[in-house]
């Protein structure tokens, strides 16, 4: 028997059961990759040619990356707030809706961490590779 958590008497809001926030970080990562890849492909095939330089593309991907990282940080912050729901000693591993809520928040935060690193790694390629070659 698990002890019902003290916050369980509060009516759980509908959004507590939503998994959507969890997917936002990885989705931004995927979109960033896709847009960066396609932009670079078009840049090299149509704009500067196969011997061309990536200079102009770098700023485009730089801005794209900043937007993506900001989105991931924001989502991570929402996740962190959701994780901090309740008082200091709140758990997130019991079978109660409050714990599930916190657990999903924590998972969101972790996935945002992963997406942040991955997005930064993708952007590194245009920092170190200078030409379409």
């Amino acid at each position: 028997m698990t002890k019902p958590h003290e916050h369980d008497d509060r009516a759980p809001a509908a959004r507590w059961h939503s998994l959507w926030l969890l997917t936002v970080g990885p989705t931004i990562w995927a979109l960033h990759f896709l847009i960066a890849y396609c932009t670079a492909a078009v840049w090299c095939a149509k704009v500067v040619g196969r011997d061309g330089s990536l200079d102009g593309l770098r700023s485009i991907i730089g801005i794209l990356t900043l937007v993506a990282l900001a989105g991931i940080v924001l989502t991570g912050w929402f996740g962190y707030r959701q994780h901090s729901f309740g008082d200091d000693s709140s758990t997130h591993s019991e079978a109660s809706s409050g714990d599930r809520h916190r657990f999903l928040g924590f998972s969101t935060l972790l996935l945002c961490g992963l997406s942040f690193v991955a997005t930064a790694y993708v952007a590194l390629s245009v920092v170190f590779i200078g030409t379409c070659q």
Partner: protein, 336 residues
């Protein structure tokens, strides 16, 4: 007695190598990325050793911690704060930093390997089921075509233009550098700069059909003067037949329609479907690394092509009289 002494000296000079022999014998020879003979291959090998070293280090640390936690500190309590830092540091920060460093290393390496400036020689190679068409661009703008053999001057940066008329192949000389795909409808490029004269092996590194495993080529890295002389010889037309048998061989070659697919420069044979045979006798191998080159193997190749190479794109001419086969083989093997 001297033999025994020799053996002892050999043992002394190469003891570690002999002890590791069963492990490493597969890594030696003319087709090994671990015995680099070119700048690109050295870079790739360095990356390999760094990765291997890093992998071993991580394995040792993880196993060390495992033994520490399960055997050495088994009965003592672990501080929650310290374990949390261990997880955060060892599980998140450490791998992120290490992977970032490896990624940066790899990206810088890639940029170096794809720097096409400062090349002095251009070679176009086309991967075709299941052989290699090789074209050298000469300084006067002319082209020299040969097949299944690439010779390179030592110490020069050579640009390769890779293409394919049929399916995807991949061009790989492990001793000299990494591999690059040959894609129909596109030209891909690579740079090789050999540093050690020698004979190496190249292979197709992308499955391309039934005879994929018999799609190899020889690579000879030569001193510059010898290379220039060799290219000069390859550019020259074929040597005329030297005696009556060879003369009969040339006749049979032309009469049996070989010239529809093959060129022998200086004769009427101007086919473009198969390998240029102008200097076929000078090559190190026959049928893209399938056989050595001598009169006997030429005759086997012409008579039993399909048995030597499955689905080969050349009909076997086993129905021809033996003397014609022998004469053609004689003629071709003398085309040096």
């Amino acid at each position: 007695m001297t033999r025994l002494l020799q053996l002892r000296a050999m043992w002394r000079s190469s003891r570690p190598a002999i002890l590791l022999f069963p492990l490493l014998s597969g890594c030696n020879g003319p087709q090994s990325a671990l015995q680099p003979a070119g700048i690109e291959a050295e870079r790739v090998a360095a990356l390999f050793w760094w990765m291997t070293g890093g992998g071993i280090l991580i394995w040792l640390v993880v196993m060390g911690l495992f033994i520490y936690a399960t055997h050495i500190r088994r009965h003592k309590e672990h501080s929650v704060r310290r374990t949390r830092w261990l997880i955060l540091g060892g599980g998140i920060i450490f791998p992120t930093v290490v992977l970032a460093a490896l990624l940066v290393y790899g990206l810088i390496l890639m940029a170096q390997l794809r720097d096409f400036s400062g090349t002095t020689l251009k070679i176009a190679v086309s991967g075709e089921q299941w052989w290699w068409r090789v074209r050298y661009a000469r300084e006067d703008g002319s082209m020299v075509e040969l097949a299944n053999e690439i010779r390179l001057p030592v110490g020069e940066r050579v640009a390769f233009e890779l293409s394919s008329p049929d399916v995807i192949h991949a061009f790989w000389i492990p001793s000299l550098g990494g591999k690059v795909d040959m894609i129909p409808g596109r030209t891909t490029q690579m740079i090789l700069e050999p540093t050690k004269p020698g004979t190496y092996l190249g292979a197709c590194a992308e499955y391309c059909g039934s005879a994929h495993a018999l799609m190899k080529f020889d690579v000879v890295v030569m001193e510059k003067a010898a290379f220039a002389e060799w290219l000069e010889r390859q550019a020259a037309p074929a040597k005329p037949p030297q005696d009556a048998t060879a003369q009969q061989g040339l006749q049979a070659f032309l009469a049996n329609g070989c010239g529809a697919c093959h060129s022998v420069r200086g004769t009427e044979a101007r086919g473009q479907v198969g390998p240029d045979l102008t200097h076929a006798g000078s090559r190190l191998s026959l049928g893209a690394g399938t056989l050595p080159t001598n009169a006997e193997t030429f005759s086997r190749w012409i008579g039993h092509t399909d048995q030597l190479k499955p689905d080969v794109r050349m009909p076997a001419f086993g129905m021809l009289p033996a003397d014609q086969l022998a004469a053609m083989a004689r003629y071709l093997s003398e085309l040096e």
